[in-house]
């Protein structure tokens, strides 16, 4: 049933419908509304058999989730930005221990300088952590991905970050079909943990592993991560059968049939991009869009297949590797190895800078004409930056 609802509230309701048993909360914008919503639900007694723990830090939040998950409870938390970084040690640990924790990352920039607005620097920094990462384009998709996330995580015994753009999605009020309890129950099996702390059948979880087996452990983690590339589409399909709508999966092609130029992006910016692409197609350009729903593990095959006809790809990224360039770009480039397809990177929306249709169109047109550099920062005040750089005598 469609409801006019804030994104965060929709996520809170959705997560509650997934019947988590332990929820850990530490406030950080723009994630706060989600856990506030869940707190209210638990406090009101609407979610039986769920412990809501107000922790003293994100590090503790992830740690509590680790403990809960290892003890066989469905565990959930949400964070963003600095919070994600503060819990990094535990983030890696959760993946290493293979604990199917679901965490919402309400994407936000990382300081310094401190910045509370949206970009993807936070979750992108955790791309090697061993967590599955899925990015929502809309609040509907964000809600749907959370339901799928529990299923995927628990099937694989791997943790998942569901990434949704801070403010842009979390604080947006729109029409959302919040997954109904009945359907969630139909879709999502009860949590059957791979391993559990149980006095009746004790095990020692979290051994120290030395050089003699560490490589094998990591190789196995890698292979298990890759299994997500099979499981995610399966769950997307299963979800569609139950909910009768299409969401999730690895990649989402848009108007790509025989397009010479393909824009690749993830998250909510895909909406703006699609509008621009629609207009450009209308104006005669051969252009399409490839949305990346799953970023970790990276769906190399799916991307390569989708781009068979593409001559140029323009990768729009809300984060980048300082001193290197695009993050997604590198992964796309790996997918395209051996092909003649060119790639160009557009870094956009850093720290919440608006990504306008006009700016995007200008860039795409220039890119199609071969008039852009390999790495472009959208709407960059280059004069200002160069002036300041000179003051700092950088480059002398």
């Amino acid at each position: 049933m469609l409801k006019q609802i804030e994104g965060s509230k929709a996520i809170a309701d959705t997560v509650a419908a997934c019947r988590p048993e332990v929820i850990c909360a530490y406030p950080i914008s723009p994630q706060t509304h989600i856990v506030e919503g869940l707190s209210a639900i638990v406090k009101a007694g609407k979610l039986a058999k769920c412990e809501f723990i107000n922790v003293e830090s994100e590090f503790a939040a992830m740690s509590v989730a680790i403990g809960a998950s290892a003890a066989g409870a469905r565990a959930y938390t949400a964070t963003a930005s600095q919070g994600l970084l503060y819990m990094v040690e535990a983030v890696y640990n959760a993946a290493g221990l293979g604990l199917p924790i679901v965490m919402t990352v309400a994407n936000r920039a990382i300081g310094g300088p401190i910045n509370i607005w949206n970009d993807h620097s936070d979750s992108m920094s955790q791309r090697d952590s061993g967590w599955i990462q899925m990015y929502a384009e809309t609040n509907q998709e964000a809600a749907d991905l959370h339901v799928q996330a529990f299923a995927i995580a628990e099937r694989l015994s791997l943790p998942i970050m569901v990434c949704m753009d801070g403010f842009i999605l979390t604080h947006a009020y729109e029409q959302i079909d919040v997954p109904e309890q009945e359907l969630v129950d139909k879709y999502l099996p009860t949590f059957n943990p791979r391993q559990i702390l149980d006095p009746a059948d004790p095990v020692s979880i979290g051994a120290m592993v030395g050089p003699e087996a560490f490589t094998e452990v990591k190789y196995m983690s890698h292979m298990k991560n890759l299994q997500a590339l099979t499981v995610i589409p399966e769950e997307s399909e299963k979800f569609a059968q139950v909910f009768n709508r299409d969401s999730g999966g690895l990649v989402r092609p848009y108007k790509m049939q025989e397009a010479r130029n393909v824009v690749i992006a993830l998250g909510s910016v895909l909406g703006t991009i699609k509008d621009v692409v629609d207009e450009m197609i209308h104006d005669g350009y051969s252009i399409g869009v490839l949305g990346l729903t799953t970023f970790r593990p990276f769906p190399f095959e799916a991307v390569r297949e989708a781009l068979t006809a593409a001559h140029n790809v323009f990768i729009v990224e809300k984060a980048f590797q300082l001193g290197v360039g695009g993050i997604v770009t590198e992964n796309v480039r790996s997918s395209l190895r051996g092909t003649a397809t060119h790639d160009q990177t557009l870094i956009a929306g850093l720290g919440g800078r608006p990504i306008t249709k006009q700016s995007l169109r200008t860039y795409f047109e220039a890119a199609i004409d071969g008039r852009v550099e390999e790495l472009t920062f959208l709407d960059l005040d280059k004069d200002l930056a160069e002036r300041e750089l000179l003051k700092e005598k950088v480059g002398l």
Binding site: E21, V22, C24, K49, C50, E51, I53, N54, V55, E56, S57, F59, A60, M62, S63, V64, A65, I66, G67, A68, S69, A70, A71, G72, A73, A75, E89, A90, N93, L97, L197, D198, P199, P202, V203, S204, I205, G206, A207, M208, V209, G210, E212, A213
Partner: protein, 334 residues
């Protein structure tokens, strides 16, 4: 006193067991069928106080709740020597996550148990002094403040032993460590306020706080048993000498712990809801010197020249504890 004095003159109340005692009066460790939560084959150094303390405490915890115990361990010696792949020495469900998060992980386990309606399963968090008073301090304080149903046990060997004996917030003044060498005008660790975690725990007004040592098994067992009778956050701080880090003979581990308590340097007491309810009286008072002399980490206080100023300073600390916790002149012998 938490222990009921048993006048058994031959071995007093202080030996592990006594064939003359009725079964129920014997210590848990004297039971041939004790659970051995931490069993043989672990890789702790010879004479490790922590290995001993952990078995004492967890066996007692298990006895107190029908073996329904899950342990969460911080990184450190105890974790490393008990679970190097491919061998674990634990006989209970056990989880190690990180150095600084054991209290929070324990909270998570306890929350899971509560959510599942398994409140019969009790959670014990444990770690060394580094994990407890330093890196995991925030998590511990959070666990205390929320009054989560976790018994946290700190095995205090007064430095970071696993990494090679560096100073921790629990390292005592004047002690030599790898980062507080016995050189310069004030050799060894500085004289500071110290991080007195039992008192900090008390400040949270949690239901139960106690100190204990491996030198008094019955006291330790009684305290763990008592701790398990409470719900909510509980804290036990156990002094566990480290032959490697303290530069003591492996056979002297218990003796040194005993001297720590009998000198007053390590006061043994318990507190409920923030107030001291009892202390274990000193039976045979010794000067701190007797304790210090057995440990190479204090060797610079005696050689090449005797440093009376520092020794006296340490004695004053002990004397202060004796006054503060009324460790002498209590009426009855334990």
């Amino acid at each position: 006193m938490t222990t009921t004095p048993i006048k058994f003159y031959q071995v007093g109340s202080f030996a592990v067991g006594n064939r003359l005692l009725s079964e129920e009066d014997r210590s848990i460790q004297s039971d041939p069928n004790r659970t051995n939560a931490l069993t043989s084959g672990h890789r702790a150094c010879q004479g490790c106080g922590e290995a001993l303390g952990a078995r004492y405490a967890l066996d007692a915890a298990m006895r107190a709740c029908n073996d329904q115990v899950i342990a969460v361990n911080a990184t450190g010696c105890l974790e490393v020597f008990s679970t190097p792949y491919p061998e674990s020495s634990w006989r209970i469900p056990w989880l190690h996550s990180l150095f600084g998060n054991a209290p929070a992980v324990a909270t998570g386990v306890a929350a899971a148990m509560k959510a599942k309606g398994r409140t019969d399963v009790r959670v014990v968090g444990q770690g060394g002094d580094g994990a407890t008073v330093d890196i995991g301090f925030g998590a511990l304080s959070g666990m205390f403040e929320r009054n989560d149903d976790v018994l946290y046990i700190c095995y205090d060997n007064e430095a970071y032993m696993n990494t090679g004996v560096q100073r921790s917030g629990a390292t005592p003044p004047a002690a030599r460590t790898a980062t507080t060498q016995a050189v310069g005008s004030a050799p060894g660790n500085v004289f500071g306020q110290g991080k007195n975690l039992p008192r900090i725990a008390m400040a949270h007004e949690i239901p139960y706080v106690a100190t204990a040592s491996v030198a008094d098994l019955r006291d330790l067992e009684a305290k763990v048993t008592k701790a398990m009778s409470f719900r909510g956050a509980r804290y036990i701080h156990v002094l566990v000498p480290c032959p490697l880090g303290w530069g003591s003979a492996s056979c002297d581990t218990i003796k040194i712990a005993r001297l720590a308590t009998q000198s007053g340097l390590f006061p043994v007491f318990e507190a409920e809801s923030g107030e001291v309810t009892s202390s274990t009286p000193i039976r045979k008072k010794v000067d701190v010197e007797e304790y210090l002399k057995l440990q190479l980490r204090y060797a610079h206080l005696f050689s090449p020249t005797r440093n009376d100023a520092v020794i006296n300073h340490l004695q004053e600390m002990a004397d202060k504890n004796i006054r503060r916790y009324n460790l002498l002149n209590q009426s009855s012998e334990s």
